[in-house]
């Protein structure tokens, strides 16, 4: 797309994005809810998004699917009062909806697969019912304007002059960073255009490209994004990404997951775990150097090749020595 068309597209999306931002009051309510309270807390939402990220990685869904799913989830949670026990169903239905819309021709996993792999307890009919509810409430038809939309457009703008810069400014890396940010609830309040721009600038600052930086300033002016707003989100993005990039590895909790194995493997595991021997331990005889110099009659001729110690001779006194005592 040439520069002019890009800018027009940007403008169009910018005008639309307001419809796709989750209701602020709803988000505030979630953030203020305590953990284990009556409603959904920010931690619950974050955990659910983590789960969705895992599932979309496993099934190979595109970033578009994931970002759309998170957007649907946030909008729905901000709108409706959802009980914590229904959260997983809501999450999965958002993911399924997003998958169906963004990649209708790709190999789609059925709802059954999603439920089975996601280790959920509800049925496929529950899932489709919830999907209808979500779609209805959000007036969801095909797509939404998400930070990813802007990210793609900005990326094209930044590359615009020289497409060879693709290696330097990697879209995949930006997408991964966007996903990392979305896992944190605080970013749901950001306007998609602002969040995407903050993200892009963070990366451009890292690779230290002067002219790309110029491009972003141009875009900011074009969309009339306020400096203060951009700066505020830029800081938050920086903090989130530095956490993301830390090499620290946390210990995962394997007990939360369901481990299903076939009957044969289960039998094998049971039988191998109970292998306690029933012969009592025989402690190795101590070798006392003060004795046993001349008690070699019990050793076979080949003995000295194997061990240098006269093993076990300490307990035996040759008869002629014993009688002298």
């Amino acid at each position: 797309m040439d520069a002019f068309k890009l800018m027009k597209e940007l403008r169009a999306n910018y005008e639309q994005e307001g419809y796709y931002i989750p209701k602020e009051t709803g988000l505030n309510l979630i953030e203020s809810t305590e953990q284990n309270g009556a409603g959904i807390s920010a931690k619950c939402r974050d955990a659910q998004v983590e789960d969705l990220w895992g599932l979309s990685s496993f099934f190979g869904y595109s970033t578009q699917t994931f970002v759309l799913a998170v957007n649907l989830l946030d909008r729905f949670l901000a709108l409706m009062r959802v009980q914590p026990k229904h959260l997983s169903c809501v999450g999965l239905s958002c993911l399924h909806l997003a998958a169906q819309r963004s990649a209708p021709d790709a190999t789609l996993s059925s709802g059954h697969e999603l439920i089975r792999i996601g280790q959920r307890r509800f049925t496929a009919s529950d899932l489709s019912r919830m999907e209808k509810i979500v779609a209805e409430k959000l007036h969801f038809t095909s797509s939404a304007v998400t930070p990813l939309t802007f990210l793609h457009l900005y990326h094209q703008v930044a590359l615009g002059q020289s497409p060879s810069r693709k290696e330097v400014l990697s879209l995949e890396k930006l997408e991964a960073q966007l996903k990392a940010c979305l896992r944190c609830m605080s970013f749901s309040k950001a306007k998609p255009s602002v969040l995407a721009l903050a993200l892009l600038r963070h990366e451009i600052k890292a690779i230290q490209s002067e002219d790309m930086w110029e491009m972003t300033c141009h875009v900011q002016r074009h969309l009339k994004i306020a400096d203060a707003e951009l700066q505020c989100w830029a800081e938050r993005v920086a903090r989130c990404l530095s956490d993301y990039a830390s090499p620290r590895c946390s210990r995962p909790n394997h007990k939360k997951l369901l481990w299903v194995v076939s009957r044969r493997t289960a039998q094998n595991l049971q039988s191998s775990s109970c292998s306690v021997p029933d012969l009592p331990t025989i402690p190795e005889g101590g070798w006392d150097p003060s004795q046993s110099e001349d008690s070699s009659e019990d050793l076979s001729s080949g003995e000295e090749s194997l061990s240098s110690s006269l093993e076990g001779e300490g307990a035996y006194f040759p008869l002629h020595l014993r009688r002298r005592r």
Partner: protein, 502 residues
């Protein structure tokens, strides 16, 4: 039937109708005899039990005397169990002799197939026919050894290396009950006779060497390993060089043998005990296991995975770092295995808390090795349960470090794209060659008017008109003498001439 070589006592009478000289008299009970006479009676009973009976070819012979012997043995078991100070010095040689006469025998050749056809789990063992007597002899000897009155210093004159050697030979018996008694007996002897310990270990080594490198057939490996397990458990630290050599040269090569399934639990226990005693042995042990890792035998692979998990349960973190890379490369192969049990067993490692902690401490090295195998199989494996387990494994990796996971995903995709690009390039190169060949003036404008393609299609048409393809037996040249011999068979004797006979 054999008799013992001791001179017959006054109380013995030769029965005229018997198969040979033996004592047909049922001797008196211990309780009916004065304590002073009990030792003498004891010796007589022991000698009486030196007579052997036939249980195999003629099971119904001498039923009365078989019962006499059985009763005598049974009574003696009770006698030494419940009485003190009855094991006096003259008893020792009699007991050992009685045991030797009854037990030390050449084992019959196995009626089960040997070598590659032998399946230890399928083939029924041939049980010992004389078990009613043998069991009591074993029982008696064991009580004798375990008695509080037993004095190794007296017994060592009679229980010597020759005795131990013959005892070890019996471990090849097919009867599992006999091997069980032998195991306990040898265990007690090892415990009590310090002077014999080195000899016993050496002879067991020889049995193992022969098993691994010559015969691959011995019925008692599991029992011997069980005894060794209790010995290894009692090793003093620091470990002697002899024991380390035993681990590396004997225990580890035992993993190679085809019939590993018979003795694997005991073998794994021995190996793990060694590592608990001395953790510096971990690296050679793990590398040897990886070297012997089965390539085609999947049940054996599952056993190796069991053992490896047990080793990892006790491994030191510093040793883990030394072996992690080759280990996880092998695990990546196991996870991708089309055999569902192997893949499941490997994936179940992720349910082990200690292994997970080791992995998360070294995730930067391990994840890039495991990721491609896991990710590829999440799409392509045929088994649904495996999908679920792979998801668990990937999810745990995601929890460890998200950026690392993302980086691995990106790298995986990049490599896949590279492969695609390469294969596309190759395709295009072939098409270019084809086009080049077609545009070659020599191929088209020649007189025969046909390109290579046309000639090929002509050939194909010609072949098809011959009729449907049938498989024909290959025509081999036949030897005329063979044909004659097959057509008119003659008996061997007719063909031998006087010159051929010895």
């Amino acid at each position: 039937m054999l008799t013992c070589n001791k001179p017959a006592d006054r109380m013995v009478v030769d029965a005229p109708n018997s198969n040979g000289p033996f004592q047909p008299v049922a001797l008196m009970h211990f309780r009916d005899v004065a304590p002073a006479e009990q030792e003498k009676l004891f010796i007589q009973k022991l000698r009486q039990c030196c007579v052997l009976f036939d249980f195999l070819s003629d099971p119904l012979s001498d039923l009365k005397w078989k019962e006499v012997k059985r009763a005598a043995l049974s009574e003696m078991v009770e006698y030494i169990t419940h009485n003190r100070n009855v094991i006096t010095e003259p008893i020792y040689p009699e007991v050992v002799h009685m045991f030797a006469v009854n037990m030390f025998r050449t084992l019959p050749p196995s009626s089960n197939p040997t070598g590659a056809e032998f399946d230890p789990e399928e083939d029924e063992p041939t049980l010992e026919a004389a078990w009613p007597h043998l069991q009591l002899v074993y029982e008696f000897f064991l009580r004798f050894l375990e008695s509080p009155d037993f004095q190794p210093n007296v017994a060592k004159k009679y229980i010597d290396q020759k005795f131990v050697m013959q005892l070890l030979d019996l471990f090849d018996s097919e009867d599992p009950r006999e091997r069980d008694f032998l195991k306990t007996t040898l265990h007690r002897i090892y415990g009590k006779f310090l002077g014999l310990r080195a000899y016993i270990r050496k002879q067991i080594n020889n049995i193992f060497y022969k098993f691994i490198y010559e015969t691959e057939h011995h019925n008692g490996i599991a029992e011997l390993l069980e005894i060794l397990g209790s010995i290894i458990n009692g090793f003093a630290l620091p470990l002697k060089e002899e024991h380390k050599i035993f681990l590396l040269k004997v225990l580890l090569p035992l993993h190679k043998v085809k019939s590993l399934s018979v003795y694997h639990p005991q073998l794994a226990y021995c190996v793990v005990q060694f590592l608990e005693k001395d953790s510096t042995l971990t690296e050679p042990v793990v590398m040897a296991l990886l070297k012997y890792w089965p390539k085609t035998h999947s049940p054996k692979e599952v056993m190796f995975l069991n053992e490896l998990e047990e080793i990892l349960d006790v491994i030191e973190p510093s040793e883990f770092v030394k072996v992690q890379e080759p280990l996880f490369r092998q695990l990546a192969k196991c996870v991708s295995s089309p055999h569902f049990q192997v893949a499941e067993r490997a994936l179940y490692y992720w349910n082990n808390e200690y292994i997970m902690s080791l992995i998360s401490d070294n995730a930067a090295k391990i994840l890039p090795i495991m990721f491609p195998a896991l990710y590829r199989n999440s799409k392509t494996h045929w088994n649904k349960t495996i999908h679920g387990l792979i998801y668990n494994a990937l999810k745990l990796f995601m929890e460890m470090n998200q950026k690392l996971f993302d980086d691995c995903t990106q790298q995986f995709r990049a490599e896949k794209n590279k492969e695609k690009a390469k294969s596309k390039e190759r395709e295009e190169a072939w098409i270019r060659i084809e086009n080049l060949a077609k545009s070659n003036p020599q191929s088209c404008s020649n007189g025969d008017g046909g390109s290579v393609d046309r000639r090929c299609s002509e050939l194909q048409r010609a072949q098809r008109t011959e009729g449907p393809l049938v498989s024909r037996r290959s025509e081999l040249p036949q030897d005329i003498y063979t044909t004659q011999a097959l057509d008119s068979p003659r008996r061997g004797e007719d063909m031998l001439t006087p010159h051929d006979r010895l």
